[in-house]
Symmetry: C2
């Protein structure tokens, strides 16, 4: 008798697990159950459908070879049965049945299973505020919502939109609406920075500046109190600081795992409701697997249960579950937390912990930043890359890296290399200093930016210099009347002098003139040095050190970072 496999949830992990299992075990009777009519779609593509970059909604439902992944596709091509518009109500683990309800007919029935997969996904976190049920208040998780937003934009009905939440999806939505439809977008974020948890405050400033430069208003440390409506449709968002007119509100304040079905069946779930699974993606019932956005998997850096609802996680976990459904022993060890998001001019990408997160986890964490070209400086095509490396002081262990660059693939290359190291080892600063990456001038620098950021960390940990972020440098500059710091701009005269003319306390002492003009630098006051990227400032610091001037801080990232943050002297 063929084994009965039931899969609840048909978006990403479910179809993957079902098809993989059927491939390995062709005799299996595999059925996919989903309460919606659209299944197996690229949910991560929704912002690009809203923007119009993805032309048709069907493109998000198609295979790379342009066949729509509907019930007929799974039946004919994959041998997997699909029951769409069918809701899973409860699991009877003793009887090994799943109670389902056909949403068209209302009929209920018990489906028997030998193995069950829970791929129930997650739901958007919607704050319980007045007006949340008004028309045109949406989340970006379902194709239907995507369609209605795009239609509203196309019909010119959205002049102003508010995004609640400055995380990945919120910012992707902001870009889609502002860049492609010219909508006046405001992002309201409760914490004091964009992409909280993913970026340091410094890198988040660059993200905010990129948004603001493209007419997206960014309101951080601000809370949405209620939504106002006219004739049942949203008309404004009221925060604790302002009232923002809006014909569209998108909730992008994170996700909650759909773990209720598992919990009701007595399976272990985390306090936040995510299904607990082992390395083989089995729940506490060995006949029931779970994965994707409804499950908790191990954070390999902290060793603790974690949650990372990403399509890439779901796909890889789905294959593991499919293998194990068919009697295999595949393992999903956990995650190190890679992510990526493309904003307007800049892409951001990272892995592991930010410096703040690392401190919350109890590490004595330090982060250093660099600005360096992604390819040989003499090669004509290249982009300036910002990288920030997070390390533990005592152990010199690398805990994470985040960055920003115009060239998204180039940034991804550095992050993915460090991510791989983090997956297979506990790399130290020295390991990343020596990380071997593919080199030729059109690809990298001979001393690549990913090696350099570790070298900078090494020098900072050894106390060879005191790095400050470009934003911290500008804060010191703003407080110059009280802190007695002597500010040096080590750029060539053209750069430094221009500022010096406006601000006489901004001293232009180009690197090349530093030795000769050493007498101009006071020895009884702290010194702060900035240049274009941080390199000249470091060489300037070495000259100062050789002359006995050691109370010096250096702006890592230099004016490049200052400008990306939207600051100016």
């Amino acid at each position: 008798m063929s084994e009965k496999i039931l899969v609840v949830g048909g978006v990403a992990l479910g179809p993957k697990a079902a098809c993989r299992c059927k491939r390995l075990m062709p005799d299996a009777d595999v059925t996919l159950v989903d309460e919606n009519s659209y299944i197996s779609y690229g949910g991560c593509g929704i912002p690009y459908y809203v923007s119009g970059e993805v032309q048709n909604l069907d493109d998000l439902r198609a295979t790379p070879y342009h066949t729509i992944r509907d019930a007929a596709f799974f039946r004919d091509m994959k041998g997997v049965a699909v029951r769409d518009q069918t809701r899973a109500l409860r699991i009877d683990r003793d009887a090994k049945t799943l109670r389902v309800k056909d949403l068209k007919s209302g009929a209920e029935e018990d489906l028997p299973y030998d193995k069950l997969v829970l791929a129930t996904g997650a739901r958007p976190r919607v704050p319980d505020i007045e007006g949340k049920d008004l028309d045109n208040v949406l989340s970006l998780t379902r194709l239907e919502a995507a369609q209605s937003i795009r239609t509203a934009c196309q019909e010119g009905k959205v002049a102003e939109a508010v995004i609640v939440g400055g995380g990945f999806i919120g910012l992707e939505a902001a870009v889609a609406l502002a860049d492609m439809w010219g909508v006046a977008v405001s992002v309201v974020e409760m914490t004091d920075q964009l992409l909280p948890g993913a970026l340091s405050v410094s890198l988040a400033r660059m993200a905010a500046h990129d948004c603001q430069s493209h007419k997206v208003a960014v309101h951080t440390a601000e809370k949405v109190l209620r939504l106002e409506g006219v004739n049942g449709a949203v008309s404004a968002v009221v925060t604790d600081k302002r009232r923002i007119p809006a014909q569209l509100v998108i909730f992008a304040a994170g996700f909650l795992p759909n773990g209720q079905l598992a919990k009701d069946a007595g399976l272990a779930v985390t306090p936040s409701g995510a299904v607990v699974v082992d390395e083989q993606m089995r729940t506490t019932d060995p006949c029931i697997f779970a994965g994707g956005d409804c499950a908790s998997v191990k954070n390999l850096l902290t060793g603790k249960p974690g949650y990372l609802p990403l399509g890439s996680m779901a796909n890889r976990q789905g294959r593991v579950i499919g293998t194990n459904l068919a009697g295999g022993q595949a393992v999903f060890p956990g995650y190190v937390g890679t992510w990526a998001v493309k904003l307007f001019d800049l892409s951001f990408c990272g892995v592991g912990m930010t410096v703040d997160r690392a401190r919350q986890e109890g590490f004595d964490a330090l982060s250093v930043s660099v600005e360096q070209l992604d390819r040989a400086h003499f090669y004509p095509e290249k982009s300036m890359m910002s990288l920030e490396l997070v390390v533990d002081r005592a152990s010199r262990r690398v805990l994470g890296m985040q960055g920003a660059c115009v060239d998204s693939a180039s940034l991804k290359a550095r992050v993915d290399a460090v991510a791989a190291a983090l997956q297979y080892a506990r790399p130290t600063v020295a390991d990343i200093s020596n990380l071997e990456v593919a080199y030729a001038p059109p690809f990298a620098s001979a001393m690549d930016v990913v090696n350099v950021v570790a070298n900078v960390a090494d020098n900072a940990l050894a106390g060879r210099f005191t790095p400050v972020g470009a934003d911290q440098f500008m804060k010191l500059w703003a407080e110059r009347d009280s802190n007695q710091i002597f500010f040096i701009d080590a750029r060539p005269a053209a750069g430094g002098k221009a500022v010096q003319e406006k601000h006489p306390l901004w001293h232009s002492i180009p690197l090349e003139e530093t030795a000769a003009r050493i007498g101009e630098i006071p020895t009884d006051r702290p010194v702060a040095i900035i240049c274009n990227t941080g390199l000249r400032a470091y060489d300037s610091l070495l000259i100062l050190a050789r002359n006995g001037i050691t109370d010096v801080v250096n702006a890592t990232g230099g004016m490049q970072a200052v400008i990306k943050m939207g600051l100016e002297p």
Copy 2:
């Protein structure tokens, strides 16, 4: 008394080691000795100077902040003394002195050292053939040669050029001359493929096709016998197969390490003359370090001494030596062999062993190839990427990966991630199936190409399908009169039918029609399936398998790979 550090060789590793040491040990007396007048230049940039992409020769000698790295720079900015045009003659290890000769005055002298660094680099391998000393027969290692080639091109004196050697530098030179100066370039390579040792025969076909599509003649399995000259300048190259007129000949047939100084001093060198060093980059004399192109370091995949003369290796090793000169304990563990080269339309990049190299090393190696978009298939900006994964059958250990893509950074991202895994672990196929890489639709696919190539290897190792490369498929097709294979094109009708009209034995059976038309497929003959990238062919194979047709091979990479190789049915 300050410690005396002597560094022989001032191109890449030497200056890095000298400056790092001086930085950590400011009291040290650090001197750099080089027999040339140009020091500290980006030798890897020479092809880009020849092409004109790098405008001025000085750009290769400048810091990223545009200061020329000459003797004065090292003295004033770094506190390092430079004795250029000074040749190191011999080391007296007992006296701890280096005999040097000033090439301007002819005077010799003994320089005392406490620690010595050998950064003597490598010299181009020049075949000992008639005519090798004619004018306009050059290697691409020195700035002077670069200048004379570019001048000759600018003056229109080079209509035809021959590159001897189809490795990295040979192809970079070919691109520089053909693409930018319109020179008719012929590449003559002794082995039967371009980039031998770096690429499989299949990927090398793509490299050759890229060259040939840009009017570079590629002559593999061909040996240069002699050069002919007129008035002392080269006029033609005579190979074992033809005579090629040429006003310029570039030798790019590899490098030989300059280990003689070390060998003469009784230090251990490898049979090929590379200086033997330990993990701290010390030679067999603990007071003498060596690194860069003159030294042998460990190949981490084979565990054997290896040789990888790359600027990136030299820079990272230089820092390690600098640290250790100052009393540190830095380590350079070895290399996994990453490389990258940009040709015309395509970039190539890889790590570790090719399938042929792996077999030479005694592995029972298998390689599988895929063609997949580098980003979400629904995202508008994307490139098709070819990846080939090399694995050991029994252990499932990953031994290397190579690829080709228009987007060089995107390809680098996949290679560097695998390279990092290879540096810190012995990843298996399952590890790369699960490799976590940064995902969002503008960066990757939810099931990224690097995961997919491992999934394909997994399926091939399990005997779930029999992959053949696109070139092997085309060979089977060429032999169709004798092998009785039934050929299926699983693309949509438009693609397959067009070929079928020309070749009735090329059967267009689109994936969607396969189940319905199963009766057309013979059950008593082998079947070979191709499609656009390999995906449809795999789904088609599953349908055949469910219908009992199992003697099937699939063309991985599909017509995308066929076209990149310059083949056609």
